[in-house]
Symmetry: C2
Subunit: 290 residues, 2 copies
């Protein structure tokens, strides 16, 4: 029997990354190409189909075929209809049946899920969540994604398309206005965007900061990585922003741990490593441990 | 075949209430007797066994037998061992195998659960939660109890004995110190105790309030009901306390609704009716509705 492969696609606001894996989880090929928040649905579909076709050829080269495609997309997803309900990072795709359209073009099943939920499936299958019955997952990047694994299965709640939106738990009622329209969501304090916004606001009000941060703000190239480097160098502003973020993260997790009676969180994403120290301190102080 | 009955017991810090029900949920007899936080385990067991035996006689009078006893107890419960792990309201029973002891005395199975979880089972079986797949339950009384019903079943998390402790979600990080030792738990703002504490603190600092409240504080008989009556009469202090409570409740529920992707909360307990109006306003402003 020919070997079976699957394709995994991570569709983001700046890049679309795809990989060919055998069904035991081993990677055989990867591809990465530019995405963009203003790309029209038809063009986005064409790019994704091209990317998948190229990996399908790789599969043939390995003497096998592609059984299915799995896609992670930021936003709320109607996974049964293969439809993007609402994506703040890819607004042109709102209400577009992306998975269904790609499936027709490729003639293979395409399963679409929220990208943080896909993180949950991956970590549960072959990652840090393997064998752990119940856990909370967080992806810390430009925004904050979340997922819940209950009884080893991804939790979908009432199938409203947004289960696991931990980034939109309110942690500071009078806090900054979130992209979602509410105030003080976790994402407004514990994301890459929050770090960048915090430095920019401090710059406007003349607070002291490292020359590197000042220069990055002036040249409009400030990234979370710059803020992390400043914090590592002991810059008071940057350390303060990470403390706020860690505390916000600890608060949200403490609430979930108390309510759910669980004790495991798995945190990934580009901004995660820097945050964990501060978050752990807040969690220790706040979580229900009795 | 003889009719089958079950006994339900609600063991609280001031009273133990018991009822005899047929297995279709109809009530046939009730009993209520005094409890007390300082009663020793052996005496508490004797009182509970007496209460159950009296209802077992009623069952015989109805031409049937008692198949099992179900007990709700405030605190964290090891339901498999039939053991009370930690009960702030019944501290003498900490680490006492209450259910197991009663079961041996009565020679019927005795199932023990956290009292808010029992509220969840009851509302899910024949109450407001009937037919609703996923919901959050809250019991507002002296404290705040909580439960989670997922897929029509009571959620136990990692079986740590405290799943559903929504009252200990942090909602105001610098808020009042909770009985559990943490700060700003929902219970410190949204419980009967919080109402009473709020009025007492206002009285000490000389804030104006109704003569009825003043008198109740002086005579040390202030109850949540008095505060509710003052709020109904438009007293600014009392209305303010209910607003704080409603907002805290809305915050906790908004966080859970966003994280869990669900949209149903069922609220019971003595203090609940007065709180709902204020809570709904906060929830509308804060919950993830996209």
């Amino acid at each position: 029997m020919a070997q079976q492969f699957v394709i995994g696609v991570d569709l983001g606001g700046t890049h679309m990354r795809a990989a060919l894996a055998s069904t035991d989880g081993r990677l055989h090929a990867r591809d990465r190409t530019a995405s963009g928040r203003d790309i029209e649905p038809a063009e986005m579909t064409r790019k994704l189909v091209d990317q998948c076709r190229s990996l399908m050829e790789s599969a043939h080269g390995h003497g096998g075929g592609v059984a299915a495609v799995g896609m992670g997309v930021p936003g709320s997803i109607d996974r049964n209809a293969g439809l993007i309900m609402h994506s703040p990072n890819l607004p042109k795709l709102n209400n577009y049946a992306l998975a269904e359209t790609i499936s027709k073009a490729l003639q293979v099943p395409v399963h679409m899920e929220n990208d943080a939920n896909v993180f949950g499936l991956g970590e549960g299958w072959e990652g840090s969540g393997k064998g752990i019955r119940n856990w909370v997952g967080l992806t810390l990047g430009t925004g904050v994604g979340g997922c819940l694994l209950f009884d080893h299965k991804l939790w979908h709640g009432d199938d409203l398309g947004y289960a696991g939106e931990i980034g939109h738990m309110p942690v500071q009622p009078e806090g900054p206005v979130c992209a979602c329209g509410k105030m003080g969501c976790l994402e407004t304090l514990a994301s890459g965007s929050a770090l960048v916004r915090g430095v920019k606001e401090a710059w406007k009000s003349g607070r002291p900061m490292t020359p590197a941060l000042q220069q990055a703000v002036k040249e409009e190239v400030l990234s979370p990585l710059e803020v992390f480097r400043a914090a590592q160098a002991g810059d008071e502003l940057a350390v303060g922003l990470f403390t706020i973020m860690g505390r916000a993260l600890g608060l949200a997790l403490a609430g979930l741990f108390s309510a759910l009676g669980i004790r495991t969180a798995i945190i990934g994403g580009g901004v995660s490593a820097a945050l964990l120290g501060a978050a752990r301190v807040a969690l220790d102080a706040l979580a229900n441990r009795r």
